[in-house]
Symmetry: C2
């Protein structure tokens, strides 16, 4: 392990040497998006690093160096997990205090000057070009809580829930990177759900919500008609990001029968900027939720520890700046793992492509303070959430900012963190007819 770096890294940094997450950056002086890794409070510009022979000591990557001058990580991801592992390991060794390659960067102030950029000067872009995005519903406690609100405890979970990872195809074009403002959507809502006949009004969304999720990127394609076996699914996963699946609950309630959520989900889905590689999460794998249901063989994983233990926090920051942590939970609260989601998704022969995004579904713990959506916290609008500074919320107001943080490990050992997944609510566009 290369835990100590010659580069100063704060002990609470999400980007310790154990991490080495990949992202796409640009700067004001160099506006072309390009790959980078985050280390401490710096980004290492991989296009500059590669162009200055940074990878000269790593022969395996020589024929593939063009992946570091692409505007997305798709080409790098497509090289496969064995290569990701080697590149990450090499970069760890380059930054290590006793690096075997001091000439590469440690004793090369010119390249440090050119390739290391303080994160505060960096603009992040979507890390991958996302061909298709699928959102699952594997957060058992969330599904149960929402089911209780709408159908009561006896029928909270649908009969299929524990047999397969329920999911729906999402809107890839609406996935945006942390920091992108989210405009409150307009749409059809039912002002009075008890009225007969039911006649909708046109309105801005009045029940704007969050969903605390993890996202996983695919790094290996399969062909139409050729399922990904469960035993190979983990090798098809590039890494994870934090995700906020913004949701318009009033639009959803009216539109979703019988084909599922549509406009209530397609106005923005925010992901964190830095992809934490699957390999970086290996030390933090743990057991997810126990299931009382026997799975069909195509979903049975050999590995018991199939879920990364990411400690998750959701902050709500009002326009005045008052910050309240409204939820604290862990990604262990999932009933199905990402490899299971991928195996299920492709069991029909559905082709997955490099860059496809899989959302976990809302992650909620069992306690009130661990619920990953406002809908659960306010019990469908019945109770208010108290904020620091005296304000209250049921759903999000214009000017509110939601910030998700996620981290694995303990400070003393070096954190493997995701940074932030942030979005601020802008007021709805005013439409004239």
């Amino acid at each position: 392990m290369f835990l100590k770096s010659w580069l100063p890294i704060e002990s609470d940094s999400h980007f310790s040497l154990r991490n080495i997450p990949f992202g796409i950056i640009s700067t004001s002086s160099s506006p072309t998006p390009r790959p980078a890794v985050a280390v401490g409070d710096q980004a290492l510009d991989l296009s500059v690093f590669a162009a200055h022979n940074g990878f000269s000591a790593l022969s395996i990557i020589q024929p593939h160096q063009s992946v570091f001058s692409q505007p997305t990580l798709n080409a790098f991801a497509a090289l496969g997990r064995p290569i990701h592992q080697v590149v990450r390991g090499y970069l760890q060794s380059v930054f290590s205090v006793d690096t075997p390659f001091p000439h590469v960067l440690k004793d090369n102030p010119d390249l440090q000057e050119e390739a290391l950029i303080p994160l505060r000067l960096v603009t992040n872009h979507l890390p991958m070009q996302i061909g298709d995005y699928t959102d699952f519903y594997a957060g058992l406690n969330h599904a149960y809580n929402v089911g209780v609100l709408f159908r009561g405890p006896a029928n909270a979970l649908q009969p299929n829930y524990k047999h397969l990872p329920v999911g729906y195809h999402g809107r890839a074009s609406s996935v945006c990177v942390s920091g992108t403002p989210i405009r409150r959507p307009n749409g059809q809502i039912l002002a009075d759900p008890t009225a007969d006949p039911k006649v909708p009004v046109f309105s801005e969304c009045k029940k704007l919500d969050i969903e605390l999720e993890l996202g996983a990127f695919v790094c290996k394609a399969n062909k139409l008609g050729e399922p990904v076996p469960i035993g190979e699914a983990a090798d098809s996963l590039f890494g994870l990001v934090l995700m906020n699946d913004w949701s318009a609950r009033d639009i959803q309630a009216w539109e979703y029968v019988p084909l599922g959520p549509f406009n209530s989900k397609n106005f923005g889905t925010t992901i964190s900027a830095w992809v934490v590689l699957a390999d970086a999460l290996e030390p933090f794998m743990s057991k997810g939720l126990d299931s009382d249901t026997e799975l069909l063989p195509y979903l049975k994983e050999k590995r018991e520890k199939n879920m990364p233990d990411v400690k998750l926090e959701v902050d709500l920051i009002t326009e005045s700046g008052a910050t309240t942590t409204i939820s604290r939970t862990s990604s262990r609260n999932l009933l199905f793992s990402f490899p299971q989601m991928l195996a299920h998704h492709s069991i029909t022969g559905c082709p997955m492509n490099v860059g496809d995004l899989l959302g976990s579904g809302t992650i909620s713990g069992v306690e009130q303070s661990a619920r990953g959506s406002l809908l659960e916290q306010n019990e469908n609008g019945k109770v208010s959430i108290k904020l620091e500074g005296g304000e209250e919320r049921k759903f999000l107001e214009d000017g509110d900012t939601v910030r998700i943080k996620g981290v694995c490990g303990e400070e003393g050992d070096g954190l493997v963190g995701f940074g932030e997944c942030v979005g601020k609510i802008e007021k709805a566009v005013r439409l004239k007819f």
Copy 2:
């Protein structure tokens, strides 16, 4: 109008001079996919045509000629409808019997030799790179028929149905071009839906179905947070294709609560190869279905004739070659138009991109013989469909081929047709665990 061509065109050709549909082709001698138009029984290779100054008389296209050497039509589509109109009009004039530009092709046997390729020698590819695919449910008779089967006549249509074009995000990666074999999917099905508790089995799909639809391609992007007004939506539509939304009814029945169809739809969606431009359909626009429901202003179209009248046919061809036309209907059987679908899709600010595909939903007429899915024809498995040659079907069997044809106009006037949308069912992959 340039109805007569110096190129021999049969009167029953789908690709009369009135049409000029665009597609992507390759040939065995020139395997790089590139744009073409179909005229009679020939494809005009636009990359060769452009490289040999075929567009020399059309100054407006000069700066954009690189669009004709792309592997998809996205770049051409992005030029916008005014340019599509000019290019189509120019190609009509080039092929016209009294062309003002005889030197371009009519009197240029060398270029004819090089740029005109018999359609039977052409391999078709997906015409567009599809970022996102959305399937609507605007076929009122289909929605009603299916609703009756599952909920009875009183509740056949959900309360939202006539207020908005119901739709769901589909799986873009599974869209394939006519001719691609479709492998019967495996998945979870409930062998006995009345059992308690409900425990699924792993099985190949036993209720493999079709859905007769039209697809529309988007040619104009809007930004996140900026809806496309209904008055501008028609300008965002490039053209139409035939579509078969293959559906696994038994997988669908088990999986679809509460988030909608997923695996039952993601193993393949077939589209016809030639995009019939919106302009080519203008003469065939007509009124769709009447609605007794007042629409919200964002869905109100000025134009009453908002639906192309495409005569549609579905043939089922068994392994033995026996061919039965199992459905005949018209695309007028839609309650919402494509511009309405686009306006609704983006009303939340959802970003649409060039190449996005919108499916209409299953198109069924009111008579038994006009139903666009087997589910409707067999009344959810109760009655058999009689085929030519004595065979019967409820759902599709291995080796069955489904061929959709669609055409506007009458033979004497020159047809504007879509060609075919074909897929043959392959047996399910045998999985070992």
